[in-house]
Symmetry: C2
Subunit: 233 residues, 2 copies
């Protein structure tokens, strides 16, 4: 643990090492026992710090969850935005979004678990509705489908918003399957298959016949844009 005497300046972010440790511990504990099912004491123990220190860095338990959310979600949204605003055909972008979500899961499954289980469906209560965030993401990719519709690539009568919602619905359901253990997350093949099946069936479901035909021809060419900035959190 204690590597003190850090040369102040250090790695980009201003937040102290300790703060990050606590955040990390919070994610792990939330993932294991759920937000309501754990005490601050658990988080402190997991992080290997004193009880009171948690309150030094976070106003209260709620803010802790809030922060976990902001951190994880903003990373996700940023990546999605990059995909949406990038170049390439719709199908490619859809695959890109799916890729982003699954990659996030691969890199930090517990963080994803918390996002899905604790936040996406958090009951009405909590202060500034986090549902807004979810909606934002949906709206973000709506733009994609709006444009596609104007180009006549979407099947007629399909609401772009709904299309966008369905995409995230599919992704969420698939990830949920892994999160709750329905599917075996340790099998990298299962991840890969789920990924492509989701993208495919979504595209088939949403595109016009002509466009869909092209989907069939698509094959994973170990794509260029695979880069992957080191996922934070």
């Amino acid at each position: 643990m204690g590597q003190q005497s850090k040369p102040a300046a250090e790695s980009g972010t201003r937040e102290s090492e300790r703060r990050r440790t606590i955040l990390r511990a919070a994610i792990d504990v939330f993932a294991r026992k759920g937000y309501h099912g754990c005490r601050i004491a658990d988080v402190a123990k997991e992080a290997g710090v004193a009880y009171g220190l948690v309150y030094h860095y976070f106003k209260n338990k709620d803010e802790l969850l809030e922060t976990v959310f902001d951190t994880g979600w903003s990373g996700f949204v940023t990546r999605v935005r990059a995909v949406v605003e990038g170049e390439g055909p719709l199908a490619e972008k859809v695959r890109g979004i799916v890729e982003v979500a699954f990659e996030a899961y691969r890199v930090d499954p517990r963080a994803v678990k918390v996002l899905i289980l604790e936040i996406a469906r958090s009951p009405a209560g909590s202060r500034i509705n986090r549902q807004t965030a979810f909606v934002d993401a949906i709206r973000l990719s709506s733009a994609l489908f709006n444009a596609a519709q104007e180009r006549g690539e979407l099947r007629t009568g399909l609401d772009p918003h709904l299309a966008s919602a369905l995409l995230f619905g599919n992704i969420e359901m698939a990830l949920t399957a892994f999160v709750v253990g329905l599917a075996d997350a340790r099998d990298p093949d299962a991840l890969e298959r789920a990924k492509s099946q989701i993208a495919d069936s979504f595209l088939y479901g949403v595109l016009t016949g002509a466009q869909a035909a092209e989907v069939s021809e698509w094959k994973p060419e170990k794509s260029a844009t695979k880069s992957k900035a080191p996922k934070r959190s």
Copy 2:
């Protein structure tokens, strides 16, 4: 449990009027403030009964939620099973399942809200994992897709389990949109559109080209099977 004295026959269910009142109140309060965000006192007040009576009928708060779940979910599963085991082509059945879900929402939106928000994604903790129930439903309709796959109606390489999960994922996402107010639930047209778009895009997404072609020809002929047993709860 002493069920004597009462003119035995009476209204089907054995449970007392009071018990049902409390259950109903619980659904309403859970929907409004969330399971964790409400006190037993709230439920009692809503039901117009004494605090202690809640504990007369239910062992504890958890059992109350559990019961709300069992009641609502078993009704849903029963209806889905009826559809799955009925006659007719796959497409028809898929539409049937979607119909069941939306009808449940139309009849008792608050109950659906509780199921979706409080239970589907309940954190690891709670006793006998209710996730099992969710999985059961998915498995149930998997049979459908299994059969379809053998008949060659499913696109190749598509896992029947996944197809089933996607169907429920789509339904859930759509209902969530209404539950959280993203879509206007008071507009019966919105419900209707969402319903058909979900079914359509799912079918297009999952079926082989040949089968999908038939989907296009489908038109709502104010179907026979619309009957609708009076939804319980």
